[in-house]
Structures are given as C-alpha cells and as structure tokens.
Amino acid sequence: MELLFNLTLNGLATGMLIFLLAAGLTLIFGLMDVLNFAHGGLFAWGAYSGIWIYSTTGSFIIGILGAILTGFLLGIITEKWIIKPVYGNHVQQILITLGLMLVLSEMLKVIWGPNQLSANPPDYLQGSWEIGGMIIIKYRVFIIFVGFLVFAGVQYLLKNTKIGLVVRAGVMNKEMVQALGINIKKVFMFVFMIGSGMAALGGVLFGPYSGVIHAGMGMEFAILAFIVVVIGGMGNFTGSVMAAILVGLSGSFMAYYVPELSLAVNMLLMAVVLIVKPQGLFGGKG
C-alpha cells in the first residue's frame, strides 16, 4: 500500500514536470505550427539559472522567479530572432531549433562548467510528513501543487481572457483570427514567452527533485514531453496535462517493476495513439 502510494506520488510529480514542458510545446505547435526542438534547452536553462540564483541568494522562491524570468527572456529572444524567420517551413524549423538546442546546452557548460551541479530543496521543503504510517515526501507534494497551480492559472487565462480566447481560436483557425482584425504575430510571441517560462519553471523544480542537474537533462525530458504532446493531442492544453500524468505514472510504475521497459512503454503508447487516434487521446484541439 505504501509502495503504491509512493509510486503514485512520484509519478504525479514527474508527470507535472513533464506537463510544464509539454504544455508550452503543444500550444506552440498548435498555434504557430512550430516544432520547437529547443524547448528542452529552456528547461535546462531554467534549472541552471534558477539553482544558481537560489544558491547565491539563499532563497528558493527568488530562484524560481529568476528561472521563470530567464525562460521569458530566452523565449522572447528565440521567437524574435530564431523562429520568426522560419515560420511555415518545418524542415528549417527542425534544423534551426535542434541547432539552438545544442547551443543552449553548450552555453550551460561554458558558463557553469561541464560537471553536474547538485541541488537540494530548501529547509522547509526537506524531509517528509508521516500520515497514518505513510511517508509523504514534502518536495514531491510541492511539485504537484505548483504544477496544478500553473495548470489552473493557464486554464483560466485560456478560458477567461481575450488573449486566451484568441490563442484557442488561433489553434483552430489562424487565418480567420487575422481576418477578424487580430495581429496573430503578437499572440505568437506571448504564447512562446509563456511556454518558455513554464519550461524553465519545470527545470528549476526538477533540480532539487533529482538532486543534480546537468546540461543534457533538457533533451531527456524533451523526449517525454514530445510523447505527451502526441498522446494529449497537438495543440490540446487539457490533453497535455492528462497525458503528462499518464506518462509520469506509467514511468514511475514501470521504473519500479520493469525498469528496462520504462521508456519503451511510453514510446509504445505514443505509437499506438498515432496509429489509432492521431488527433490525441483527449479529443480534438481545444
């Protein structure tokens, strides 16, 4: 019982980290039709910048805010100078974003050195609670909490604000949004910024979760995030959170029971979805 509970909690926490990465990817793909392979780089940058700020200032909260800000900035720069020139051309997008991914990880090594860095939760998030004989690790609960908070916040934005409506409308029909007098390019930049901020947040939360961060971590998580985008339906925000939880849970349970198959199962899940329901498990776009 305790094992099941912990595997579930672990899976949910991992799922939330994947969600933070996948949500931006899916919106960027759905709205802008851009395959952003550099998205994982923002995850790693969030981790490094956030953990560095955290260790310099001693405040985890400031570290988190710093990571989000770094994500915003890198997102704006990426959209403006890297993505904008290649809108509408998938081959160029793949090449240039893969290139950017490499540049981003190499720059991490240049700035913070080639070795992995260690990261620990702040005092108040260390240790665990014991409830009814069950050990609950605080930091995992924290990640799940933040993940849900971000989900709820973005969901609110998408449902209740004009720009959110425009983003959803744009995912469905870009041309029509423009024919109604809306400058969709501005919306692109906004979405890119939010998506990058979420990825960076995921990265900094991941640090103390795994205990170490390294420059290649972006790529590893990006693969899971791409699987989630496919399973959840490209452009489907609510789909991405459900798929992320699914992938997180399956990863957590598989890693315990049949570790060799952990990633394979998720890949298989994606392949099946692509064949059976290519629009994603959770309905159409929306």
Partner: protein
C-alpha cells in the same frame, strides 16, 4: 455615389498557379455588388485577395482612397472590412459567445449596440449562446459568421456564398438579414443562387477564368438571357 472599394487589374498567384489574371471592379458605397461566375472562376480568390489572405502580385486594391494591397490581413480588417469566408471559418471549439468575443475589436457602447442588433436579427445565436460553434447547424454557422463580421463598425462586408448548402427556408432568412444590413453597410456578395443574387444585388460583375469579363446593373443582367446562359449556365 462614391466608390468605396476599387480593384485595378489584380493578378494573384496561389503557389505557382496564376489564379487571378486581371480582376477590376468598383464597389459603390451603400450598394450590394454581386460577384458571379462558374465554379473555379476565381470569386473566392478575389475576396481572399482583398483581405490579403492571397495577396495580389500585381495591380492595386484601393479602399477608402487608400491602397491596401500591401497591408497585412489584420490591418485590412481593422480598417473596416468584415469577411465571411466560404467555409464560414467558425472556431469550432469555442462557444457562440466566445466566437463573438474574439471578433469584437472594441468593447465600447457602439459594438454592444451592434451586437444587440445582430442577435435580434439572428435569435438562434442568442438561443445557443453557450453552445460550441462546431455543433451549430449549417445555417446557424452562417449566421454566426455573418454576425462576427458585422459586429465591428465595418464599412464593407465581403460575404462568400452564404446560401451554400442551406435549405431554401434558411436561405430566405439569411437573405432577409443581408437586406437589413444593407441599410447600413456596403456589401460584396459572391452568390451562385441567382434568385438570391438578383433579389439583393444592385449591380454585378462576372468573373471567368480569373478575369472580370462583364459588369452592369442587376436589372440589365436579369434581362440579358445570352449573358446568363454563357457565364452562369442559366437559361
């Protein structure tokens, strides 16, 4: 009457295809100008060129005495042209209300007055206010698309085959609403349904093979059996 929109010898490519090869027309303020022509003649492309969704490579589009052919689509819309595309362009996952909200460029009194007006014209939209656009009937989608184009203070509406695929009784309703809007707005209407075109239209242009080949008043066209047979396939 003054000219609101003028197309001067427009040429448009889609990819490598030379679709429009000389479209010229004038739309007078307060009138309904109907574009007629066979399937594939270039009527839709003409409207899309005005909106710069398929930008012209040659010629000019003059709206309110200013050239607009090099402006981005959203700016053209903001200048006062509302567009009702052939496929209606409804945001399927958004409710009727949300579709209207995306369309409303301003949140002022005038816009809300226009909203009230158009909802009274199309009570179905009020009835299904919270329903996803994708679940509306064909006629309701058409009404929603027209309402979205109308709700801003647009001086010109471009409406592409509003009668397409609709039952005769619904066509009648859409036609009535366009006649009502005509009181306040200039309209360019693409319409194959000759009954509808001749009831609403003040003047016409015939497009054939990407060129405007003939034009005149609707009255002239009604009497010209030869022309109707040649370009419209109506005896």
């Amino acid at each position: 009457m003054s000219v609101l929109l003028k197309l001067n010898n427009i040429e448009t490519f889609i990819g490598q295809y030379h679709i429009l090869q000389g479209v010229s027309l004038e739309v007078k303020k307060g009138e309904v100008t109907v574009l007629l022509g066979r399937n594939g003649a270039g009527k839709t492309t003409t409207l899309r060129t005005i909106m710069a969704l398929n930008p012209a490579s040659k010629g000019s589009v003059v709206f309110r005495d200013q050239e607009i052919q090099n402006l981005p689509t959203y700016t053209i819309a903001q200048r006062g042209i509302g567009y009702v595309p052939e496929d209606q362009g409804i945001f399927a996952g958004l409710t009727v209300e949300e579709n209207m909200k995306v369309a409303m460029q301003k949140d002022n009194e005038e816009t809300h007055k226009r909203l009230d007006y158009i909802l009274n014209l199309f009570p179905d939209l009020k009835k299904f206010w919270k329903k996803p656009g994708g679940l509306l009937s064909g006629g309701q989608k058409q009404m929603l698309s027209i309402a979205r184009a109308y709700v801003n203070e647009n001086e010109l509406l471009l409406i592409d085959e509003p009668s397409k695929g609709l039952a005769p009784i619904v066509v009648e309703k859409v036609m009535e609403s366009i006649l009502q809007m005509k009181e306040q707005t200039t309209i360019v209407l693409v319409e194959q349904n000759f009954m509808m075109a001749s009831t609403i239209g003040d003047c016409f242009y015939i497009i054939d093979d990407g060129r405007t080949v003939s034009n005149g008043t609707m009255k002239q066209l009604k009497e010209d059996e030869e022309m109707k047979r040649k370009y419209l396939g109506i005896a």
